[in-house]
Symmetry: C2
């Protein structure tokens, strides 16, 4: 039996395959990046945002980046076959000898892995029409997100902190955990970005020291000007969270999720959250609670 | 052509193999640990220290740990075949469905990967007798090591910071780069631990916030009492490095390497370094400059 999702299909460097070399630097050092895309109506959602982030990550890690048009075409083909579900793309620096030193760019033989999963029957079927926003319950994690400008904002394969944070709870009522950095600033959820409405402004943590520059976060930030709402991207502390009027999380697959309970404190699904959900639906086809 | 070291042999879960599943959490999240062991005269050097660190890592990551005796027997068998060279052990949480949440411990199906490389003809042949200590030249890296008590001290598969730091230089005269944490404290080298002799004391950075608790570092720390030298494990800053009388690095494969030049400043191979090298040789069979 495979421990991986049996319904998933995988391709490695364009060919159907389920394995990579043990010497792949993606395995030995986490030397790579990934993207997880929602597929709706045969199209990869927010495709350009995903490709932008992957390119930016490849640039910052000095990783050989696959040709954008070819990669887009491959993702579009898989999305068309999938119709409704999830695509995962992993790009590693490829196999190499022992040692942290990466091969010269011209000698890099990157590994491009693609996985595809059809939507489960419940949950992400039929969520492309705007339903009632379902609020989620979140907690605070003890595991901190470390600060490092070298990798901040990127979706690298170094995700052990998120794994340890997610391992902190089993209660199925809790959908997500919030993580702080070592300085006590909120970074986001283990798998999504955090937004607060506080004194008439929309706040979200900056991702220049820790966290991931989520594609749905970008969609929200590009949507907000139409709301006439001041947006502050910066430091967000626990006191601000405690005083927030509205709180929501964003994630490429789940869209926008209002937080209705955080560590026992109840919150409403407020007007800004509702308006943003409508805008995201109109501009990017994001159904609310799109998990 | 394989991009990995063609001379290397690999086993996965006890069987000869060169691949792992793409869904392995070691690849997708860096959810695992590794050890790199020197093999000398048919034996894995500092075996118990390596097994201790692996067990400690497995405990802290709530990773299923393989039986210590069976693992030791496998490593000893491979070492006997290899006689002189390097063994690499990778332990991951095994394959799993998408999502950071680790499977319940009883459902985990960890992946144990073993790699073996014979010694290159030059360098690590015949270094088991104590030779003249060859000093190395080191630099300071711009890439910082991030602080996180959750993973500090462990040799996890999340090594992207070390990769980025090692990518900063190509000059073959420079053997290693020193890394600072975000607070400006020295953490160590990209692939080894740092020791300074300063005002009659031996100093080394603590590894409770960042860095790796190296097995050769432990060998040094267990050796020092016989020298009657006060040892301080704590914060080490650049000013202390600049004022240090002796500096050396330790690494499981390379043993003890005196630093004779750091960012243009020249240093002697001092008496403490020489004495420690002799003690390491006597107590653990570590040849100097054992690379």
């Amino acid at each position: 039996m495979s421990g991986g999702d049996p319904a998933g299909r995988w391709w490695v460097n364009g060919r159907p395959a389920r394995t990579v070399e043990v010497a792949d630097r993606g395995l030995t050092y986490g030397d790579g990046l990934f993207e997880t895309l929602a597929v709706r109506q045969g199209l990869p959602r927010l495709l350009e945002f995903h490709l932008d982030r992957l390119e930016e990550g490849a640039r910052r890690l000095a990783l050989w980046a696959p040709d954008r048009k070819r990669l887009a075409a491959e993702l579009e083909q898989r999305a068309a076959e999938l119709v409704h579900g999830t695509l995962k793309l992993i790009l590693t620096r490829g196999p190499g000898p022992r040692g942290y030193r990466p091969p010269e760019p011209v000698r890099q033989r990157p590994t491009l892995i693609l996985g595809a999963w059809p939507a489960r029957r419940s949950g992400d079927g039929g969520s492309d029409v705007l339903p009632v926003l379902r609020g989620i319950q979140v907690r605070l994690c003890r595991t901190r997100a470390s600060r490092n400008p070298a990798t901040a904002g990127l979706k690298t394969l170094n995700r052990l902190e998120q794994v340890l944070a997610r391992a902190e709870w089993n209660d199925p009522a809790i959908a997500e955990g919030l993580m702080l950095d070592e300085a006590g600033n909120l970074v986001g959820g283990t798998m999504g970005n955090l937004f607060l409405v506080h004194r008439g402004r929309l706040l979200t943590p900056a991702v220049d020291q820790a966290g991931v520059a989520g594609v749905m976060r970008r969609a929200v930030l590009e949507t907000t000007p139409s709301l006439g709402l001041p947006v502050v991207v910066g430091q967000v502390d626990l006191a601000t969270l405690a005083a927030a009027e509205e709180v929501f999380l964003t994630n490429a697959l789940r869209g926008l999720q209002p937080v209705v309970e955080v560590e026992g404190r109840h919150l409403p699904v407020g007007p800004v959250t509702r308006q943003l959900a409508e805008h995201l639906h109109g501009a990017f086809g994001v159904g609310a609670d799109d998990a």
